[in-house]
């Protein structure tokens, strides 16, 4: 019996050892992958930075690990602050510090939008749940909420804060005008001036000649006709060009050519793209009258019409 059994033992034992060693090696690689994170080095650097600017106590209390702002009622799980650790330290850290440790700029209206209530992605877009550089900033296929960046805004001739007003309007949709949202304010004036709602239904009001626009921002870009759109095939471009000269982009349309300036059609596009089905509960929606009141005493903002009885795009 012995000899024959040993022939199998001789054949298999070496392989068994080799595969066990390979398994051990793979487990080591698995651990190495798990602990070589994109954020590890920043979290080592950050307490030193705090210490350097005199926050020794906070530096000592800093605990490494994934950090997140979790706001279930608006569906926000933002782990951006795992790398962007300086975000709430604008009073201590100078704005000259390089990303990702750079503090978030602070001003009056940002002070009203606390990080703990709004998180990061409602304003900036991107994938808040991601803890990798590429995952958070670039995302994958089927990406519906790309991160707003200076480069992206520049592509459409806008600054990042102008582009971001589209996202402010998620909540401020029902304001007649909002301080600091010049693009959207211009768009809302244009809706009245150009009488859009003679033809279009928005939130149950308006004429039925044109398509309903209540959730225009949710439209599937693939269903748009890009045959007559120049530049990149994006919903943004389609809207800008359609608003400028509807008859060129959609040859059979009944919509007149409004021949708007690029600024005007860009502003309207930003507003249209902000009209989406969104998860924000009533306490996140500002009182439209408060916004209107806030507009009045400001000497710097452009004059805006007072709230009127005419139907207003919302």
């Amino acid at each position: 019996m012995g000899d024959k059994n040993e022939s199998f033992e001789a054949k298999d034992f070496g392989w068994l050892v080799a595969m066990s060693v390979l398994f051990f090696a793979l487990v080591v690689v698995g651990f190495w992958f798990e602990f070589s994170t994109d954020w590890g080095s920043y979290q080592q650097e950050f307490p030193q930075l705090l210490g350097h600017y005199g926050k020794v106590e906070d530096a000592r209390e800093f605990r490494p690990g994934i950090k997140q702002i979790w706001i279930p009622k608006i569906g926000v799980t933002d782990r951006c602050i795992t790398c962007h650790l300086g975000y709430e330290w604008s009073s201590v850290l100078p704005a000259t510090i390089a990303e990702p440790l750079k503090p978030h700029p602070m001003n009056d209206w940002l002070a009203k939008h606390e990080f703990s209530r709004f998180g990061c992605t409602p304003c900036h877009g991107g994938d808040g749940s991601a803890t990798t550089l590429a995952g958070a900033h670039e995302g994958g296929r089927g990406w519906e909420d790309p991160m707003l960046s200076r480069a992206l805004a520049k592509q459409y001739g806008l600054t990042m804060s102008e582009m971001m007003q589209m996202r402010c309007n998620f909540c401020h949709r029902h304001d007649v005008a909002t301080p600091g949202m010049d693009e959207i304010n211009l768009a809302k004036q244009l809706v009245i001036k150009k009488k859009c709602m003679i033809c279009h239904v928005v939130e149950g009001r308006g004429g039925a000649t044109g398509p309903e626009l209540t959730y225009e921002g949710d439209r599937n870009p693939e269903l748009l006709n890009f045959a007559h759109v120049h530049g990149e095939r994006t919903m943004f471009n389609w809207n800008v060009q359609h608003l400028t000269q509807a008859s060129v982009v959609s040859p059979n349309t009944q919509m007149p050519d409004f021949n708007m300036t690029p600024e005007e059609s860009r502003a309207l596009t930003l507003m249209l793209l902000s009209w989406r089905r969104l998860p924000y509960p009533p306490e996140y929606i500002p009182d439209p009258e408060m916004a209107a009141a806030a507009m009045q005493p400001s000497p710097t903002s452009p004059p805006t019409p007072a709230p009127s009885a005419t139907p207003v795009a919302r």
């Binding site: 068994l16 398994f23 519906e144 599937n220 943004f236």
Partner: protein
């Protein structure tokens, strides 16, 4: 010195080692984990080149899937609101979560492939004759349940890929004659994919189908024992019966003492000889351990190298272009697309022919094949027996056709379900901004 070392090694590593053949056999019977092995197995069935150990590899994949699956269940929430987020958490925040999901995913896709190749091996070696036909049927059922398990698991991440793949799959099921709409309604738990579908697929995926697989698997194993082991044993046995056995030197006794000549003798073996067999423990159990380890290593390597796909959150109002079924069903989708006929505005959907009738026919033929095979017993347990050349060729061509359709569906089909050759630019699909 070497003997002493190996004796020491044995003392350290084995609490007990058999002193006799009897003890070796009893070791199998008395051990719960080993009792489903026979005490001895044929050397021929241990051969790598006969079975490629594909059945064992499938079992190893099933074990990996069960273990990783149970661990994933601690994190996954089967709700349309939370499912996608819980997968994102696994990807980005749970320790080893990404690795866990990757390994589950690749083991699942590997299992579909390995189970099919296992079936191909059984076909090409003609290992479904006689009582083994029952196990062939069990095997076909196991292939179907494996496909269903993979399909139900596909929906769970609740991303665009999952949502639309299940839309395509269940729409094909709808085209079945008479029962189609009912089947779709039962699968979806309604008229469209939603919370009910997710819950249904989840319960099927984590309870009913795995239990079904375990029952079938146990029966599959038990039948192997009852059928006398792998079919290759029949070949060895036949060879033994054919070969004359040297007469043993015996004395022949008559009433009056020793007589010349020989007594009545068996002139050939009736079965396996002692030298054809080895003890299951440790030869079979060691090799089984090796196969498990190899499979585990391969899935782990795949999990480390490649991330399981995850697209955007499922959005019923935005169909990805193109929307594809999972790869193991994409050949059906390809059949549906290529049998759809358009005459002007009038469209004849190919879903019935390509999605139901043709695969139904293939499945029927597959099920009945042991009774359609009229070749002689000599082909049993023999790779590519010349007598079965036409059968094997038929099987190979059907498999090749399926593989080609899968490759076309997965790699060549682009937007609007058009063919795009490698290197040919695909149209850029419109984006938001």
């Amino acid at each position: 010195m070497g003997d002493k070392l190996s004796a020491l090694w044995r003392k350290v590593s084995w609490a007990w080692s058999p002193e006799s053949e009897r003890e070796s056999s009893e070791a199998i019977v008395k051990n719960f984990w080993l009792h489903w092995f026979p005490a001895k197995v044929a050397r021929a069935s241990m051969d790598w080149n006969y079975s490629f150990w594909l059945g064992t590899a499938s079992a190893a994949l099933l074990l990996i899937l069960t273990v990783t699956g149970v661990m994933l269940m601690f994190f996954y929430v089967p709700s349309t609101e939370r499912a996608y987020g819980s997968i994102k958490d696994l990807q980005y925040a749970v320790s080893f979560g990404r690795l866990l999901r990757n390994q589950h995913r690749w083991a699942a896709e590997g299992m579909v492939a390995v189970v099919y190749i296992h079936m191909a091996r059984v076909f090409l070696t003609g290992a479904y004759r006689g009582t083994r036909a029952i196990n062939w049927l069990v095997g076909v059922a196991l292939l179907l349940v494996t496909l269903l398990l993979s399909f139900t698991g596909y929906l769970l991440p609740w991303d665009q890929l999952a949502f639309w793949a299940i839309t395509v799959g269940t729409s094909i099921a709808k085209q079945a004659p008479v029962l189609g709409p009912t089947i779709q309604f039962i699968l979806l738990g309604g008229h469209e994919i939603g919370q009910q579908t997710l819950l249904r697929f989840y319960v099927l995926h984590v309870f009913f189908l795995p239990v079904f697989v375990l029952v079938l698997f146990a029966y599959h194993m038990w039948r192997i024992r009852k059928d006398g082991g792998l079919a290759v044993i029949e070949r060895v046995r036949n060879d033994r019966v054919m070969a004359p056995k040297a007469a043993s030197k015996t004395k022949s006794y008559s009433l009056f003492g020793i007589t010349p000549g020989t007594s009545v003798q068996v002139m050939s073996s009736t079965g396996l000889e002692e030298s054809d067999q080895v003890f299951s423990s440790p030869d079979l159990s060691r090799r089984m351990m090796l196969v498990f380890l190899v499979v585990f290593n391969i899935t782990l390597l795949a999990a480390l190298l490649f991330n399981a796909p995850l697209e955007g959150l499922a959005n019923p109002s935005v169909t990805p272009n193109p929307a594809k079924a999972p790869w193991y069903f994409v050949w059906l989708q390809e059949l549906v697309a290529s049998t759809t006929v358009r005459l002007g505005d009038f469209t004849v959907s190919g879903a019935l022919l390509g999605g139901i009738l043709l695969p139904g026919f293939l499945l029927g033929v597959l099920t009945l094949w042991p009774w359609l095979d009229g070749s002689s017993f000599r082909t049993e347990g023999r790779w590519l027996a010349p007598e079965r050349r036409r059968q094997n060729l038929t099987f190979a061509i059907a498999t090749l056709a399926i593989i080609v359709l899968i490759l076309v569906g997965v790699y060549l089909r682009g937007p609007y379900w058009r063919i795009y050759w490698p290197g040919q630019p695909r149209p850029e699909m419109p984006r938001l901004y």
